[in-house]
Symmetry: C2
Subunit: 177 residues, 2 copies
């Protein structure tokens, strides 16, 4: 058996709506909005293309351990039955790893550096890494995210909405310049 091939490290690029478009939407308070509440609030409406099959969308909270650079990404996953929208609640940068869906699994891996005031909605069945807030070394306080995704139906098989792909060669992500 030969050794796992070397994999070139990924470099995180800034998260922008245009760059992320093949994978879903970026949620942020920029651009078109309406003024509500007597002008004291700006509403940026309908930022995520929620796409839920055979079930319903729900709101959950995720409390995730922060990671540090360089970030090791052992696997990616996809959800065939629903989009998954992540919104940070604790501030700070976080990392979004995504990939296209090739015939043999994930291909064209990309890494995006999201700010603490940006959310993402990952399109249904799109490969992505697990939730990855970025912290300082030694900081282990979990960071909170609100997640809008599919809530499974009673009695469906465990994992009905989860496909995992574990990399033969580990993927490492480095910060951009």
């Amino acid at each position: 058996m030969s050794a796992a091939p070397e994999r070139a490290p990924l470099v995180a690029e800034p998260l922008t709506a245009g760059a992320f478009a093949p994978f879903g939407e970026v949620l942020e308070a920029t651009g078109a909005h309406v003024l509500i509440n007597e002008g004291r609030c700006r509403r940026y409406s309908d930022l995520a293309a929620l796409d839920i099959a055979h079930g319903r969308a729900g709101v959950s909270f995720f409390a995730a351990e922060p990671r540090t650079w360089p970030v090791e990404v052992p696997l990616v996953e996809r959800h065939p039955l629903g989009s998954q929208c992540f919104v940070p609640m604790s501030g700070g940068d976080w990392l979004v790893v995504v990939a296209g869906n090739g015939p043999e699994g994930p291909e064209g891996l990309r890494a995006f550096l999201a700010r603490g005031d940006q959310g993402v909605n990952i399109a249904r069945d799109t490969w992505h890494g697990v939730l990855c807030p970025l912290g300082d070394a030694g900081t282990t306080v979990p960071r909170l995210f609100a997640v809008v995704d599919r809530i499974g139906t009673e009695g469906e098989p465990a994992g009905a909405n989860l496909v995992e792909h574990r990399f033969a060669a580990p993927l490492t992500v480095h910060p951009g310049a």
Copy 2:
């Protein structure tokens, strides 16, 4: 014409799931959860009873001007066609004013002091004040919230999902002890 009657000030009480139950749900990272992502993330699932009629739920961002104590509440509103879920993204306390739906309008006003790691889902057709982050005097930087609520359908009349009640006597809310 007589002067508007005096109204006793409201005192904000801590936001707890039990106290808020008549008006909707409190979203917070406590209690039942599952471990995901190889144990590095806790998932608190399905925290809000989304209730959307004649349309669909969407995710929006609200950027709201902070207020200071005592808070003046000139009006409350309700949304007959959908629940409205608020999740803070910028940290800090915020104020949630709600009321029961009496025959003549809002009755039994309550004020809840929410923390920056707590969301609320306000039940469909429940009277509530507008989004109200609390800041220090002189701080005008808007605070960001993610909102999951009803996205109106094309061509429906403006205000189809909004009823407002403006108080004859202004309501003032003070911090709790």
